[in-house]
């Protein structure tokens, strides 16, 4: 095996094989996936993101939240995500078709956020968590997302408001053709 062309051709074929077999085949299957109604005539899901939430996604990426938080709920039997209350159904590919950059994540220092918007009670609760996380939490406070109000309380600034809107928009609690919710 002392022919450069042979080695390079061989290595090229191995790269091409996995590229074609995984990525091009995956693209053929999912490349054109779009929004769809769970039942004929129903509303299209996933819902369009509000403009503020799109800005908030930038803040989420900037701060590197993905280092500790995932956004994917595994099916029952493949981990205990649903039992943990992180989702009401497993995530499916269609849930992510509107996202310009998906932040699935691969490490959970904190809980999964795929369906966080459905379990967060109010903006104030999210703001309180961002400005002063509960004792014992590994999450740092984010003082730069808040301004001091006249009464001394912390009010979310522009970026804080956007991030809260984004977190609230994270919902996977609707039926989709691939994952129907149990009635």
């Amino acid at each position: 095996m002392n022919n450069l062309n042979l080695i390079l051709a061989g290595v090229f074929s191995t790269v091409a094989a996995s590229f074609g077999g995984l990525l091009l085949a995956g693209h053929a299957q999912l490349g054109a996936l779009g929004r769809a109604p769970a039942e004929e005539g129903g509303p299209l899901f996933p819902a369009l993101e509000p403009g503020l939430a799109i800005q908030g996604r930038q803040v989420y990426l900037q701060l590197g939240c993905v280092a500790c938080h995932t956004q994917q709920v595994r099916p029952a039997g493949q981990g205990s995500d649903i039992a943990q209350g992180w989702g009401v159904r497993p995530s499916v590919a269609r849930d992510y078709v509107l996202q310009s950059q998906v932040a699935l994540g691969n490490r959970r220092v904190g809980p999964d956020l795929a369906n966080y918007g459905a379990r967060a009670k109010s903006d104030a609760e999210i703001a309180a968590h961002l400005s002063a996380p509960a004792a014992g939490s590994a999450m740092p406070a984010f003082p730069t997302l808040f301004n001091q109000g006249k009464d001394g309380s912390l009010q979310p600034n522009e970026r804080g408001t956007a991030l809260i809107a984004y977190l609230k928009s994270l919902r996977q609690d609707y039926s989709s053709p691939e994952a129907k919710l149990k009635q």
Binding site: L23, L61, G64
Partner: protein, 483 residues
Amino acid sequence: MSQENQQSRPQGQGRPQGRPADTGSPRISRVDASVASPVKFFFASALLWLLVSSVLAVITAVKLHLPSFLNSCEYLTFGRLDAIQRNVFFYGWASNALIGLNLWLLASLGRFEFRNGWIATLGGLIWNLALTVGIATVLIDSQNAFELLELPRGVALAFFVAFLLAALWPAVAFVRRPTGQVFVSQWYILGASFVLPVVYLLTQLMVLWCPTNGVLQALVHSWFLQNFLLLWLGASALAAVYYFLPKELETTLTGYYLSTVGFWTLFLFAGWTGPATLLGSPVPLWIQSTGVVAAVLLFIPLTITSINFFGTLSRDSGWSRAWNNTTLRFVVFGLVAYTLALALQILFSARSLNAIIRFTSFAAGQQQLLTYAFVSMVIFGAAYYILPRLTGAFWPSAKLVHLHFWSCALAVVGSVAGSLFFGWTQGAALAAAKPFAQTMHPQEALLSSACAVLFLIGHVAFALNALGMLTTCSSSTDEARQA
């Protein structure tokens, strides 16, 4: 490799590779002198980045149990520093060092004298500048959500150009080698140097320039990451092992004829293993299953490298001789780590086991086993061999060599064992439906902070020794060189 090398080398051309030649400079061979300046440049930059990464690793480890530590300024948020530390380690330390190591190995194996070595140095300069710009962007602006693709896309383009300038040489060196022989190390280096730019460019295109639809980005990313870890870092480090092990033991490889199969099966299967890291994610099941099959098939190259390396070590008191040789002590440590890392990867691609450990620190432990305990330790071992031959000087202090080995070895064993143990126990607690907040172990963060400090001590010892040698080039005792 060595056997063929010894037997088939034309008369008159032979000299032990990498050793000072009989002719030319009394200490530095002509081949070594021709690659000296780019290789020294790559090693010196790698060293500086290693120190930066070690300091950042201490900060991020402390932040995990003291979230308020250095938290007044947004630029020092965990999410930013964690991404920067990772990129500095992989692109600054490991990749710089491997580009330098690959250049030196090819020049030595092919007896290729570099002309225009400045082109490689220029590539290295662009590489390091691009990395600096990228880190600054992550620090003050934004980052991408994918591990090792966090840097802005413009940086990726500079990386690509830099890599072509710096690592196009392998192909040139190969074509113009005066000896007709090809050694296993050369295949691995050629393969790694080909895979990295191609895979990196395709991934950048499909994730950052023209993003594919939704979760396909995660699929492309997993494909990139496995290629990067196994076929760039892993294959380059294996090349060094295939060189140093038989050479320093002055023996032949056991089952040398199998190494061709080992090479091709690694390159054939490793690229398909990406989806095995996405089990349970919203990507099609058939893709996940393909990844699992590929991961299991890694058993073949793993078996072959084990026969090659452990067979060789088991003969003629190889283990004890390796232990008493500075380079081999690091290399063999890496080798054991490689075997463990691949075995764990195969085992934990099983769906039922993967369901427990996925998203816990177990996966981080697995990655550290491969990228630090294997790749970085092999680079250290290689540096102990190569740098004296490039500078014509000896390592200034044998004590620092010992300090380096023991602190890094202890740190990586502690850190990996901690990640694996606490990751597994957390996964098991989650599987038993314990609430998430109660499954975190505060001891884990304490242990990783202690290990990060130990890493820093080891790296400072290494850096003092290496920078001392690179800058003064003055010789010390033979004892230090033999260490």
